[in-house]
Amino acid sequence: MKKRLLAMTLCAFMLGTGLLTGCSGSDDGAAKADGGQPAAQDRGGTAEKLKIGVSLANMSDDFTILLNKGVERAAAEFADEVEFIVLDGKADPTMQLNHIDTYLSQGVDAIVIQPTEADACTSGIELANGAGIPVVCCNTKTTGGDFVYVGSEDIDAGRMQGEWIAENAPENATYVYAMLVMGQTGQIARREGLLEVLAEKRPDIKCMAEQTSGGMRDQGMKLCEDWLQAYPDFTMYVSQNDSAALGALEVLGTAGKDKLVCGVDGNAEAVQKVANGEMAMTVFQNAEGQAYESCKTALQILKGEFSGDEVIIPFELITKDNAKDYL
């Protein structure tokens, strides 16, 4: 009895961690979430299929889940030529370094990585460079190593918000600013882009307060409640992502206040609210497209069809006029 229960507990734990790690990675036959494949297999001459190892940052995160969809699309499309192996970094750069070790010993032909951290993942990329394996960085650049970057420029998301505000905000408007986790690339670059454009085009617009929502909806709500107290007359709630902006909309709705709310991401609920006119604007980051292009670029490099060092997937501005196209 005791043994059986112990076994059940262990199973439960394994299931639990399994759910965390592989929730969407292993559904498609082509994208294998298991790193335990023997390296000798492809030398056995079964086929001349290429192997590309993909290391994603954190499959518990909405955004990474969208990226994985792009990988799955590429895996399905290029199934005849390439086998994609997908591993989950669980937001831990050390885990991603292990992935690269695994991929190198498995003898993959190329590596696609969505780095969890710009600095910490650099050594892994240098390791792959040393082994002569081409690397594609998806969504985030590392600070060192040789790689081809496929993704968007975060600073552009900030600039797009800035441009929209510059055109649409009333004179002497004020805004409160809800940022992502402090120190994240997205937080720094999006802020830089926003401030750059506003300083240039609309010096009359004033920032009343800036805080971090951590990108979370409940924190975005708290900030909005507190700011309505401290600065009841602010014109705009500008958020670096949609979750916090949607939280602010809930608060503003209950309080019966009408403010312009701006976000970034273009998630389904936000696009719906932009279409309804409740939310002013958001910026669409094409995660699925980034991952798909990353995989495609890796394949092109292997075939010798690619030259250059980056592929930029542009952000897209969503306002009431075009929101219906994104639903």
Partner: protein, 331 residues
């Protein structure tokens, strides 16, 4: 069990209230927006979810246990409850689902802790990870969007100007206070936490007391999950991260001790209010997010010092007394 309150404890109990009053006075001087009815209700609204968890944590901590899973359990309960609501449109069913899922997680915690004499810290950490995984799995990592207005009645509605979620937290406080102070179960909680061996010798079913406490904490996490999702008007699978820590810090600030046997519901509420007031005023004053983090870190240190003081044994006593307790058990 006789409840003898030493002068030291009386000072402690009033000390925390004095601290809160002092904080409120300072805050109202620093910010003219602080002491307004809307802002007070904002603070209460913001802490109500943590408060509901804190009642459960308070029971457990007094019983010498702890639970690290409420943040995740509230999330999985809330997400499943939101899915149940979207599927059936029944608010009653949604609430029942939230409470049952939470209670089930609590029963599991209690079972493993008592049946195999495992440390609650590890068991509930396992539950924390597992529950978060399930929340992400069932929702495919994406928020469960609620179409209908009725879901947010609890979280965003109000009665005579008082937010419903604050009323809920107040009602649950009365129930929790009653259970802890006016029932034999409440006395058992103190007995188990104060001296487990003595409690056992006097015929208290220790394991039963613990399992019930974990179950209550789980069920309260479920209620908190429904309240949070209703407030946010969405089933968000990454919500509630670290809520248990706010609750635990609040309980400890309020005079409870990790060593068990000491603590009050009232203290837990005051402790949580101190956290809520601090969070609020830092935002009102637009204090840099970096400094906010420092302040919150220092608060944890204060809570731990308060914990050590409550045992009257100086700084290193908490771990030491745990070890001594373990040794006594083995002997």
């Amino acid at each position: 069990m006789n409840k003898k309150i030493s002068p030291m404890q009386i000072l402690k109990r009033y000390g925390i209230i004095l601290l809160l009053i002092l904080l409120v006075v300072i805050c109202s001087i620093l910010s003219s927006n602080f002491l307004t009815p809307t802002n007070i209700f904002n603070i209460l609204k913001q802490i109500s979810v943590v408060l509901i968890i804190a009642y459960g944590e308070c029971l457990l901590i007094i019983a010498g246990q702890t639970d690290l899973s409420p943040g995740s359990v509230l999330c999985v309960s809330g997400v499943l409850s939101a899915m149940a609501f979207v599927g059936t449109g029944s608010l009653v069913l949604a609430i029942v689902v939230a409470i049952l899922v939470g209670a089930l997680a609590g029963v599991c915690n209690g079972f493993f802790v008592t049946r195999y004499a495992l440390p609650p810290f590890i068991v509930t950490l396992g539950m924390q990870i597992t529950a978060r995984g399930i929340a992400l799995f069932v929702s495919h990592g994406a928020p469960v969007v609620i179409g209908q207005e009725s879901f947010k009645i609890l979280g965003q509605g109000s009665l005579f100007g008082v937010p419903n979620v604050v009323i809920l937290a107040a009602v649950l406080f009365v129930v929790a206070w009653f259970v802890l102070n006016r029932t034999s179960y409440g006395r058992y909680i103190y007995a188990v936490g104060g001296n487990e061996e003595a409690a056992k010798a006097s015929g208290v079913g220790i394991n039963k007391v613990k399992v019930i406490a974990f179950t209550i904490c789980g069920a309260l996490s479920g209620v908190a999950g429904f309240a949070l999702m209703s407030r946010m008007n969405v089933g968000q699978p990454n919500a509630g991260v670290n809520y248990e820590f706010d609750a635990i810090i609040g309980v400890i600030l309020g005079g409870a001790s990790f060593s068990g046997g000491i603590g009050t519901m009232f203290g837990a509420v005051v402790g949580c209010m101190i956290i809520g007031v601090l969070n609020n005023v830092l935002n009102l004053l637009n204090v840099s997010p970096y400094i906010q983090q420092i302040v919150k870190g220092l608060l944890i240190l204060i809570a731990v010092v308060a914990d050590a003081k409550s045992k009257g044994q100086g700084g290193k006593s908490i771990l030491m007394s745990k070890f001594q307790k373990k040794k006594q058990e083995q002997a």
